[in-house]
């Protein structure tokens, strides 16, 4: 058995028997790891607080030669991201980013700068103004996809490689993996997007993350960029990112709360469509 130390972000946990937990981590040096935290289900466990999804920890683990699951020896919390945990919308985005990593990253072949990117995104998620959360997530998605080799093709039409010009109609296809020109879209069925949206996709891949809070996207561009989580990523990963629905549910609830606050007395009840329909 070999002991090793690494910085890591807790991605998920599942129960193992009555006392233990199996934790999935994104580590700085060893990619995605699974490790057993002995006694982590006990209330007084020294591991329990560090084993929460979204925690940034420094862990000392035993590497077993026989099995693929390692064992925690020590674990220190560097940040619990309380700013994310204490606000519903930020937490919904936190869930989404963790699920993206769970579904897109496989095994140990992860470059350390992916870990750095995820960590930076989580720190920003804690403090960035709420209205900038969607643009932060789009930038994260595009950067992560680029690092992992899933970058959408934006240089021209995926089919005929014709360059996209400002005044021409542009389509985007999650299935095809990038832009389609008007001719090729007839057969491949892409979604009509504005030229501006394509420019934003290119820009969000490279812009400094610290400048994201100052960016203002038009409503149309914001809506069109949703094609990345809704169509592009599911086609690349091969399955839906389930927590995106939760972001939409929370956004709808927040809008309803805001509307209720603005339009009438403080005691007015918030109408929640899926409950009120019952």
């Amino acid at each position: 058995m070999k002991l090793y130390k690494t910085d890591a972000i807790v991605l998920s946990d599942s129960d193992l028997g009555d006392q233990d937990k199996i934790i999935t981590l994104l580590s700085h040096r060893y990619g995605k790891i699974r490790a057993v935290a002995k006694g982590a289900r006990r209330l007084k466990s020294r591991f329990a607080p560090a084993m929460q999804m979204l925690s940034y920890v420094t862990a000392v683990l035993y590497k077993s030669k026989r099995i693929e699951v390692d064992t925690f020896n020590e674990c220190k919390i560097n940040s619990s991201f309380l700013g994310i945990r204490n606000e519903l919308l930020r937490l919904a985005y936190g869930y989404y980013s963790i699920e993206l990593i769970m579904k897109c990253v496989h095994g140990a072949e992860t470059p350390p700068f992916l870990f750095d990117l995820v960590l930076k995104i989580l720190f920003l998620l804690e403090k960035i103004p709420k209205e900038s959360l969607p643009v932060l997530m789009r930038s994260f998605e595009l950067r992560m996809l680029t690092i992992l080799g899933y970058r959408p093709y934006l240089a021209g039409c995926v089919e005929c490689h014709q360059k996209v010009e400002k005044n021409r109609r542009v389509f985007f296809s999650g299935y095809e993996g990038g832009i389609l020109c008007a001719n090729c879209s007839k057969e491949k069925r892409g979604k009509l997007v504005s030229f501006e949206t394509i420019q934003w996709m290119k820009f969000l891949r490279t812009v400094s993350l610290d400048k994201l809070a100052n960016l203002k996207l038009s409503h149309r561009v914001s809506e069109e960029l949703k094609i990345i989580p809704k169509s592009y990523i599911p086609h690349r990963v091969g399955e839906e990112v389930l927590s995106y629905t939760f972001i939409e549910t929370v956004q709808a609830l927040e809008t309803e709360v805001e509307t209720a606050k603005k339009t009438s007395s403080p005691s007015t009840e918030t109408r929640v469509s899926w409950i009120d329909q019952e």
């Binding site: 998920s12 028997g17 009555d18 209330l43 007084k44 020294r46 607080p49 560090a50 929460q52 999804m53 979204l54 919390i77 940040s79 619990s80 309380l82 945990r85 204490n86 606000e87 519903l88 937490l91 919904a92 869930y95 989404y96 963790i98 699920e99 769970m102 389930l242 927590s243 629905t245 939760f246 549910t249 929370v250 609830l253 927040e254 709360v257 209720a260 606050k261 403080p266 005691s267 007015t268 009840e269 918030t270 929640v272 899926w274 409950i275 019952e278």
Partner: protein
Amino acid sequence: MYTVKSINKLVKEFSNLPGIGEKSAQRLVFFISRTSKEYGKRLIEAIREVMEKVKYCSVCGSVTESDPCPICQDRTRDKSIICVVEEPWDVFVFEKTGKFRGLYHVLGGAISPTKGMNPQDINIGGLLKRVKTHKIREVILATDPNTDGQATALYIAKLLKGRGISVTRLGMGLPVGGDLEFADEDTLSHALEGRRAM
């Protein structure tokens, strides 16, 4: 290969239980085969009774033998306070303390978006109906102190905002018999927020 059909059948049934693998199932079956006939009968009777009598309370969602459950029917309980828990067994844990005299609401799980559990999949609708139709003064959110429990509590708190109800979350802090040295920042900050005069 020599096998005993009846043993295999029971091993297969036991290994369907959560946390029980084939080896554990075999151990259980061999224990049962060696034990007295009386014990076997009592076990069968206990399982049959649970299957026939236990149901979910139509008001709070807890497990019960009568609907509504004895807690919901109890006139001495404070009907203006609802304690929201994730699972039916959480009710038993609270009842063991003997400190809570209000009513319960069992959600039947927690919001866990990465596992596909959204607000629509747990019994939040039932809670909202109870809040609308009864005079509720306080809702205590006693979901688990983990990320999913927190998401569930935040969602319900937002939903109940503006209804004139006091929404509280169960206190979080240092466990009895714990060591301050090993407390993490999250636990300590909660413990500090929830400190009380002595």
